[in-house]
Symmetry: C2
Subunit: 286 residues, 2 copies
């Protein structure tokens, strides 16, 4: 059988998808066909490998349930999530850089007042976050919606605990008139992405570690501005050079300031001291 | 953000996978990264579309359970299954052409004696199949293992019925000294692939019908020869020009002979007549 048969087959599939009524879907399906077929031809993919691929994807699907989205993890470790993020920001004006959403965002985090402690009851070094949300022109964005989430001291997110009671280390804040948001939390640790499933097997087979450097997630939206999805990474931590999901950008790596034991500015007693993270986010106009 | 960021990202992912110890897996992962990223860049895939893709694949995974392999269906309608089949046979010597395995093969079909009726108790026009299995040089392949399966009159396979008792319209035969296999069945109908899931939604959105032309599946193996996975399609039936899985090859379309009411050669009374399908399969040497 000649390679002509293969190119004829690709043409036959494309001819079917070329009739897709919606032009955007048509473009995507034609490109998908073209690249998927090119991948199979270039690797001379065998039937056995195809079966392994089907079984792998089936495992990824079965693993994707509440609190675990294995397809997002797969996209993340393949660099696709960061690529889509880069493509989305091709035309971005000067603004805070974005990074991956990750699989642990939830849209219905409880709204907390400024100054609240989202880490209450969780062990870890106290961290006071002071964030200002501004437009690219520097004007503070009053009433900006700021959703934050991070892992606990064991490197796990609330929704990874099936028996949890409500959310923790997660919250939604509203910026005040100066665009200011403040909350207490704990210093996040580096952590491995869930690696007991097929994505973990893939990392293992390719001799890659599953670790992400320590970070806090931010999802910030404000009227008239592009929503910003990003992290702040803790400077000096491990894995900043080898984030398994390729999410680190230098502008997002921030220093924490250390404070001696005493009383924080808001009156909180910190007998073991505390750290602060001050950051100014800039959103580009729509 | 410039396109340089995107190519740097692809390079960073490739650099990680370049360390994969197994050379074949390394090649596959590097090609996957390259083509997946090229697909996203070329289409300027948006975050919203990426999420839709994640949700689509998750649905495909959840749909893939006993008796239903939605990822195989997806591969089939994208032409990937037939492409892998074509690639596997790039170096094929003269032999019967192959086609897709499909999602309804099972490896443990009951062995039946030559002449058995795999359609017993199922309505449909009686069909007597006479097959000969030979090598590419024409020598009969005694003891060849021949697994056959097909849909019932409603276009469904046994394993699509959750409440079924054992297999039906499916069997395993052993060729006799002349390479001959004979069995009774019913004339298969054209049928739609299962289209109540995400693959059906994809077909619908791309204005494609879900139908396959009528066929009987064969999986034939013999010592010293390449296993043959193929169908025989019923000549004159619908959808031969637009098989949803791109599986039709002209050499696999066969005429059925019609016989008047009476007694078949093996003594079976056929008051409504019967049809015969005679075919010679040729397997290439290993």
């Amino acid at each position: 059988m000649s390679h002509d048969v293969e190119t004829e087959l690709t043409a036959a599939v494309s001819a079917q998808f070329a009739r897709t009524p919606d032009p955007r879907l048509r473009k995507i399906l034609l490109a998908l066909t073209s690249h998927l077929h090119a991948f199979a031809r270039e690797t001379a993919l065998t039937f056995k490998e195809w079966r392994q691929g089907v079984e792998f994807l089936t495992r990824v699907g079965h693993m994707s349930r509440d609190g675990r989205q294995e397809f997002i993890l797969l996209s993340d470790v393949l660099g696709l999530s960061m690529l889509v993020d880069a493509i989305e920001h091709r035309t971005q004006e000067s603004a805070t850089e974005s990074t991956v959403l990750g699989p642990f965002f939830v849209d219905d985090a409880l709204t907390r007042p400024n100054g609240a402690d989202i880490g209450a009851g969780h062990p870890g070094d106290l961290l006071l976050v002071n964030a200002v949300v501004a437009g690219a022109d520097g004007h503070p964005l009053a009433d900006a919606d700021v959703v934050v989430w991070q892992s606990d001291e064991d490197g796990r997110y609330d929704i990874q605990y099936p028996e949890r009671d409500g959310y923790f280390l997660r919250g939604r804040f509203r910026a005040d008139a100066q665009g200011h948001v403040q909350f207490w939390t704990i210093v996040p640790p580096a952590y491995p992405i869930p690696d007991d499933g097929p994505v973990g097997d893939l990392l293992n087979a390719s001799d890659r570690h599953p670790w992400r450097p320590a970070h806090v997630h931010f999802h910030i939206s404000a009227a008239g501005h592009r929503t910003l999805v990003t992290h702040l990474f803790v400077a000096g931590g491990a894995y900043l050079d080898s984030d398994v999901v390729f999410g680190v950008k230098q502008s997002l790596v921030v220093d924490l300031a250390q404070h001696a034991p005493g009383t924080a500015p808001d009156g909180r007693a910190c007998p073991a001291g505390w750290k602060t993270l001050d950051h100014r986010f800039q959103l580009s106009a729509l």
